[in-house]
């Protein structure tokens, strides 16, 4: 709760703001002005390297064993049972807990070393491999969740129970807007191409602001229909008609204000003017016609197809360019319980080139240094096969104890590989990174101390990383 003196200043500021006209103030700033009953945190706590982030979430849990965690010795373990000493009490999902045996499925894909750190990367990611020098690969991510719904929620919000704000909302709340007419936190849902890919549910709660003000929740940028919900005027209403209508509306609201003296009425006028400006800034954002051919040469022609992963990451770059703070891209289809060789290859094909293109594009525009790109799923996959194991086909169940993610940009230490797992990519041997550690590290790059970055809710100073210990992993960053 703001004290009365601050409140008064705010109201005065608000009056000046409206007296001056509203064209120069951003959406978020405006929203705060219009409805401020809370003080925003004083941030950053210290100079940060990152100003924005693009988080590419591969929903379902990509197999670390087939992509980044190379285990050549497993060839000799083909169809042998996972030793009980390795499993060591790990709880299993009820999808495989009833399995009579746990036959080991070595990856059928080839790996090679790339980049200055000699990172082993699967043949499924030939383009990503080319930028190994930019990437910090973490092989020792771990979580406690073993099913998608709680695991994705955990990854995003630091809690398995729905209702907490996600990372994008925290950052929007903490650092505010850098742009005039777009939200601070934007979400894209990319399509996948393989019809048999293992698709998991996501939900609006994954980009919600939880207990933070709704103004920090992610705004979905949609591939079909209105790119932002309700942004388009109805048929038969052009921009001129809308302008005339809003002029009348503004005048009438002003007449009302003279009687009721309610600052909210003036806020209403500004709210409609902001909406009007968004109606031109959003189409400008989504219009790719001015992107040169070189861009499509980089991202691939499918970047022209709305909703494709390549299109989504190109859009993410455009959003970042326009000052959006946090872009979340979801791609579903990474839940390879069966048919892994076929469908994982297809998922990788969907994203491989575009990931490379995004990082190179950001770099060439000088934006990589203060933009974090994060890639990964909500957990890993088991070394043993779910369902039938054959020489060329297998599936893998969920595995929480270790999985791989990568980061690039934003002061992340490129060309490195962090952490080691055991011979079965089942347990972590060295340098674990819990998802809370990752969140703390990302906040650190934004200049935020995750322990001091709190919001009072239900009487508690809530934070993204929760109450369990979380560490900034300094070896991931420079």
């Amino acid at each position: 709760m703001m004290n009365p003196a601050d409140r008064r200043i705010l109201l005065e500021t608000r009056r000046q703001f409206f007296a001056r006209g509203s064209s120069s103030v951003g959406a978020l700033a405006l929203a705060s002005l219009m409805n401020a009953d809370e003080a925003r945190p004083v941030l950053p706590h210290f100079p940060g390297k990152a100003k924005r982030a693009i988080y590419l979430h591969m929903v379902g849990g990509p197999s670390q064993l087939d992509l980044y965690d190379y285990k050549p010795q497993l060839k000799e373990w083909y169809d042998k049972d996972l030793p009980e000493t390795i499993r060591n009490g790990q709880r299993l999902t009820t999808m495989t807990s009833g399995q009579s045996r746990f036959p080991i499925a070595p990856s059928i894909f080839k790996f090679a070393q790339h980049g200055p750190g000699g990172a082993w990367i699967s043949e499924l990611l030939p383009n990503t491999a080319r930028m190994a020098g930019d990437m910090c690969i973490i092989r020792t991510m771990n979580t406690e969740a073993i099913n998608h719904e709680p695991a994705i929620t955990f990854m995003q919000s630091g809690s398995m129970i729905a209702g907490k704000p996600c990372m994008g909302a925290w950052i929007a709340y903490g650092l505010g807007s850098m742009n005039q007419d777009l939200p601070s936190f934007v979400v894209l849902n990319a399509s996948h191409t393989h019809p048999k890919a293992g698709v998991q549910a996501i939900s609006a709660r994954l980009w919600s602001a939880g207990f933070l003000s709704a103004r920090y929740s992610g705004v979905a940028l949609r591939a079909g229909g209105d790119p932002v919900l309700y942004i388009n005027n109805p048929d038969g209403v052009d921009r001129g008609v809308r302008r005339r209508m809003l002029d009348a509306l503004g005048e009438l609201n002003q007449i009302q204000y003279e009687t009721n003296q309610d600052p909210e009425t003036q806020a209403r006028i500004a709210q409609y003017e902001m909406a009007f400006r968004m109606q031109s800034s959003v189409p400008e954002l989504t219009d790719l016609s001015k992107e040169p051919t070189s861009v499509f040469n980089l991202y691939g022609e499918e970047a022209r197809t709305g909703g494709s992963f390549a299109n989504s990451v190109l859009m993410a770059r455009r959003l970042i360019e326009r000052g959006v703070r946090f872009v979340q891209v979801y791609q579903r289809g990474w839940d390879q319980h069966n048919l892994l060789p076929e469908t994982l290859a297809a998922q990788c094909k969907d994203v491989d080139r575009a990931c490379y293109a995004l990082v190179q594009d950001l770099k060439s525009r000088g934006m990589l240094e203060d933009t974090i790109v994060l890639w990964g799923g909500e957990f890993g996959r088991t070394v043993y096969s779910q369902g039938k194991l054959t020489a060329d086909n297998y599936g893998r169940d969920h595995h929480p104890r270790c999985f791989s993610m990568w980061m690039a940009g934003g002061g992340v230490r490129g060309g490195t590989v962090h952490g080691e797992t055991d011979d079965f990519s089942y347990n972590i041997v060295k340098d674990p990174v819990h998802i809370r550690d990752l969140q703390a590290t990302i906040l650190r790059q934004f200049g935020i101390d995750h322990e001091r970055f709190t919001y009072r809710y239900q009487g508690l100073d809530q934070r993204l990383t929760g109450v369990e210990p979380a560490r900034v992993i300094s070896r991931l960053i420079s």
Binding site: A31, T94, P234, G236, Y272, E451, R452
Partner: protein
């Protein structure tokens, strides 16, 4: 701070102490201690530092080796003051690591409080409310106003004059019914010269059927009501009869104690009615899951936690959920007490996995009213017949012995009239890889499928699959974990041109087949679509072992007519649901044993296959499963006798089958709603879960209530009914306060306690503590009469004030917490949409019924949904369903209706008693561009155009939307807008045509299209006014 200046401060403070106003412990001291200190020196014993607690009187005034924590009158001698002023940072409280700091003002307050004698009180909300004396005063109409004017006077403010009548009726109508007043009602009220005109208006509005709808809308946020299960597949949940119950409960003005008891424990009320059972659905509104890998103990713990949290927020205003992992940090709720509360909710018959079905048991069928009497008769009949069966079974031994003595023999498990002849399996012509072999016993030959090959069996000539049948056989489960097809009789469909990658509508081959996946068996019947009966993960077949399976189909083309028995026991299928089979599953091909197409039963075996031309009943299925033991098993032999020989028992069974059949017939016409049900063979209990983790159970605890509140009377049962009665006990200090505070919040925008969900230590203190207590006592002593309490608030002068602000009021009362003016704030999302529909005349006034699907942008559901979710594709309704009140809009939790969500509606995933109210550009885009609201604008324009001229037309619009006519200046603005729009659309009639075609309802003929288009935009301007969007 330097020591010298500290000293100076102390001197200053002490010399002026007597002259200063008394420090209020409740308002000024406890919140500071709570926030800065309780985390380490509060209720949580596990994190308490130095054995010191500051949340109790004993702790605060304790004497420690180094002195008194707080020495009344002696700040300098108080450790508390010494430690907060410590110069060495390492010793200063609160420590830097806590990220807490005390401001100088707070430190001064603490000092002054001690100087003044350090008065201490129990946290205000835990002490009983007694009726305070109503302050004297001349202003106002009822006691509420005396409290309000006293607080205003203390700030030097005066109340505002009464609002004009048009404002009043619009405000009251929106607050009572959620809808704007009809113009005729406005005029009648304006002209009513009786001194009681306003009171009459309020009384009339309070008896409107829309009153219950509007109240229900708030309550459903608290109840986290929705139309889907919430997690993962997020399928449809049939729950709307509960919503109807809530609406009607408000309209019937059910007293709040009864309202509470029926929702928390309607199933446990003596002689419960079906309405009371429906009410118990309150705690079936929580989110549930059926995600494949879920662990049931974990999920069950999550549901219990949600139920405790919701109950605590709604009735106690406490954030009990904080105590699920550790003792509460701020309020006196221990972790143990949390699990004692959880125990009330853990004795449920509910399967934690919701099965992705619309009717996860326990559910109640709500028959159409014409069937109600028969439904009850049948319920009684079934109970009667079951009793008679039990009795006959107990008495039958002599008759059985007599029959045996007369040479009775065991001929066939089921009446041979139903049997269909089959060759013995070992007599079939077998392909290589299919081998005869041992069955579950020596007398039952089996076919073993050693390779990916099958055997062909000609179906019995008289078999009519579509009329109903039974398949009974023994099955040897292979050792591998693959998916299998055991047997089938089906024809592949012609290949389809599959372009939609996500096509999950593909139907398996026409016919029937028995599949096994994850060691769970399924029978599928496919005509044009497919119905199935699938077992559950809890009854998986064991690898390498024989099991007896019976699949029965009653021939009624309904998924609910399929049954599965494993080893003689009927299974509750994991895929219940009321799917109707379209087309016929009968195909003219042989039966394939051991596979279907490229799917096989390699490694498995079947034995003792029998086919009957009807669905067997559970008794018969039981006998089939033990038929191979009929020579030795006494229980099997008695069963045989009862069912096949004894006419009396068999007649009872026939009656039972008929009664069940009729019940199912009525059930198919009925709605379903989720209800609570206790397990009968156990008492409520829970385990303390270490750190809240389901797999770390500690002590077992019995249901009980927190010690800080008055104890449960010995006479109360230790179950939900007892809990509900305890909540409504007059001695409970919280329930009444929390409930009246929410009512206040609905009307005035902010509760007397702003944090309406948290009356605990970290919640905000009440703005008018005496008024809150007065209202709470009044509510309790009125017999918990909700309508009366709303009436009291509506009739107060405080509510009737003009909302016009002045600079002084904005300065001294910026948020209008003191009510220096009337309430004025933005309508909730549902009210915004309802305003457009109602003012335009588009709204369908029907009350109650299933949820509807109005306009929604494409792709909202698909973007997030699972393949196979039955709420993946949003199929918009048509006709009047598009124009129902927003309360009835279908609520999918993982993708709530966007136009509501943008206006701060909660997702209904957890209990919400206070909505945020933001103003964002996205909201303006909804009210400007949502087709629903554009259509409503056009409809309002049509209504206006029926009037003769500009002024009359404008009056039609503003009287409906704003309850007032425009003044000359406002008319001038519209006149200018209209002229410009007319010019535009006159020259672009095709544009005008597009605009007036938005929405499903057709534009009225008889008006020139450009004129209708221009007026549509005028209507939209009026409905988008700040005045329209506010009450």
């Amino acid at each position: 701070m330097k020591a010298s200046s500290l000293l100076l401060l102390a001197v200053l403070a002490s010399t002026t102490a007597r002259a200063q106003r008394p420090v209020d412990f409740q308002r000024e001291i406890r919140p500071v201690l709570s926030d800065a200190c309780f985390h380490c020196h509060g209720p949580d014993a596990n994190t308490r530092m130095a054995g010191l607690r500051l949340d109790t009187r004993e702790g605060l005034f304790a004497t420690r080796p180094s002195g008194a924590v707080v020495a009344p009158g002696k700040p300098a001698a108080s450790l508390l003051i010494q430690r907060i002023h410590q110069e060495k940072p390492a010793q200063r409280m609160p420590p830097a690591a806590s990220n807490k700091t005390l401001t100088d003002a707070q430190k001064t307050l603490l000092r002054r409080w001690i100087e003044q004698g350090a008065q201490w009180k129990e946290h205000w909300s835990f002490t009983p409310a007694s009726r305070p004396a109503v302050p004297a005063g001349t202003w106002g109409r009822n006691p509420i106003d005396k409290f309000i004017s006293k607080a205003l006077a203390a700030k030097g403010l005066k109340p505002a004059p009464e609002a004009d009548r048009r404002t009043l009726i619009r405000r009251a109508a929106l607050d009572i019914t959620g809808l704007p007043p009809a113009p005729a009602d406005v005029e009648a009220f304006v002209k009513d010269s009786s001194p009681q005109a306003y009171e009459k208006l309020i009384d009339r509005l309070l008896t409107s059927s829309h009153y219950g709808e509007h109240r229900a809308r708030y309550w459903l946020d608290a109840a986290r009501y929705a139309d889907t299960h919430g997690l993962h597949v997020d399928n449809y949940r049939e729950m709307w009869p509960y919503r109807d119950w809530v609406i009607q409960a408000f309209n019937r003005n059910v007293p709040f104690d009864q309202f509470t008891i029926e929702q928390l424990a309607g199933d446990l009320v003596p002689n419960r009615t079906s309405q009371q059972q429906i009410a118990s659905g309150f705690h079936r509104c929580n989110v549930t899951t059926n995600e494949g890998g879920s662990i049931v103990d974990e999920v069950a713990a999550m549901y219990a936690k949600d139920r405790v949290e919701t109950t605590a927020i709604v009735w106690l205003g406490l954030t009990a959920g904080c105590a699920s992992c550790h003792d509460h940090k701020f309020d006196p709720i221990s972790q143990r007490e949390f699990y004692q509360l959880a125990a009330f909710f853990r004795n449920t018959t509910q399967n934690p996995m919701d099965g992705n079905i619309p009717d996860t048991p326990p559910v109640l069928f709500v028959p159409p009213s014409s069937d109600e009497a028969r439904w009850e008769e049948l319920r009684a009949a079934v109970a009667r017949i079951n009793q008679a069966k039990t009795r006959r079974r107990e008495e039958a031994t002599p008759a059985f012995d007599a029959w045996k003595a007369k040479g009775g023999t065991f001929s066939a498990p089921v009446d041979p009239a139903a049997g269909l002849p089959l060759p013995e399996l070992d007599q079939l012509k077998l392909a290589q890889g299919v081998e005869p072999g041992t069955g579950p016993d020596a007398g039952t030959p089996a076919l073993h499928f050693k390779a990916k090959t099958t055997a062909v069996l000609d179906p019995p000539p008289a078999w009519r699959v579509e009329k109903g049948f039974t398949l009974s056989f023994w099955l040897l489960m292979p050792k591998a974990d693959d998916a299998f097809t055991v047997m089938s009789q089906s024809v592949p469909r012609p290949a389809r041109n599959k372009t939609d990658e996500d096509d999950d509508t593909a139907v398996p081959p026409q016919g029937w087949a028995i599949d096994i996946a994850g060691r769970v068996p399924t029978l599928r019947l496919a005509g044009e679509n497919v119905v199935r009966v699938t077992g559950t993960n809890q009854m998986r077949l064991k690898p390498g072992e024989w099991a007896h399976l019976v699949f029965a189909y009653d021939g009624r083309s309904d998924q609910r007519g399929l049954a599965l028995y494993i080893d003689g026991k009927q299974q509750s299928p994991s895929n219940r649901g009321n799917l109707i089979l379209k087309g016929s599953p009968a195909v003219n091909v042989p039966i394939t044993l051991g596979g279907e197409g490229r799917r096989h039963f390699q490694g498995g075996a079947i034995a003792g296959l029998r086919i009957y031309n009807r669905a067997v009943d559970p008794e018969e299925a039981g006998i089939l499963a033990v038929w191979n033991k009929i020579d030795s098993d006494p229980a099997a032999r008695l069963n045989y006798f009862l069912n096949r020989v004894d006419p009396e028992y068999r007649q009872l069974q026939t009656q039972l089958t008929a009664a069940e059949y009729e019940r199912q017939t009525i059930a198919r016409r009925s709605s379903v709603t989720h209800v609570m049900e206790e397990k009968r063979d156990s008492s409520p209990m829970a385990h303390v879960l270490f750190r809240g983790q389901y797999d770390q159970p500690r002590d077992q605890v019995a249901p009980s209530t927190p010690a800080v509140l008055p104890p449960m009377a010995d006479s109360l049962p230790r179950n939900r009914l007892g809990l509900a009665r305890w909540l409504m006990d007059p001695g409970n200090p919280l329930t009444a306060r929390v409930a009246v505070n929410r009512m206040w919040q609905e009307l005035f925008g902010t509760g007397l306690v702003k944090t309406s969900e948290d009356f605990g230590s970290q919640g905000q203190a009440p703005s008018h503590p005496e008024l809150l207590d007065w209202l709470a006592v009044e509510f309790r002593e009125s017999g918990w009469d909700m309508r009366r309490m709303y009436g009291l608030m509506f009739k107060s002068a405080a509510y009737r004030q003009s909302a016009a602000a002045t600079p002084e009021k904005i300065r001294l009362d910026p948020d209008n917490r003191l009510l220096s003016r009337g309430p004025r704030f933005r309508l909730d999302g549902e009210m915004v949409r309802d305003l457009f529909l109602s003012a335009s005349g588009l709204m369908s006034p029907a009350v109650g019924g299933p949820s509807v699907r109005p306009y929604q942008p494409d792709g909202i559901w698909e973007t997030v949904a699972m393949k196979g979710s039955d709420t993946r594709f949003y199929k918009r309704d048509s006709g009047t369903a598009l124009y129902r009140r927003s309360l009835y809009t279908f609520w999918k939790r993982s993708a709530p209706p966007p136009s509501m969500e943008i206006f701060n509606a909660p997702t209904r995933e957890s209990c919400t008693v206070r909505r945020e109210r933001t103003n964002t550009p996205l909201q303006a885009l909804v009210t400007l561009n949502d087709p629903q609201l554009v259509e409503a604008s056009r409809r309002l324009a049509q209504e206006a155009l029926a009037a003769p001229a500009f002024d009359a037309r404008l009056d039609v619009m503003t009287s409906r939307a704003l309850a007032r006519p425009f003044n000359a200046r406002e008319r001038g603005v519209i006149r200018k807008e209209l002229a410009s729009l007319m010019a535009h659309y006159d020259s672009r009639p095709e544009e005008a045509g597009k605009l007036v075609s938005v929405g499903e309802s057709k534009a009225a003929s008889g008006f020139p299209t450009p004129e209708l288009a221009a007026w549509t935009m005028v209507a939209s301007s009026i409905l988008n006014l700040d005045e329209a969007l506010n009450k």
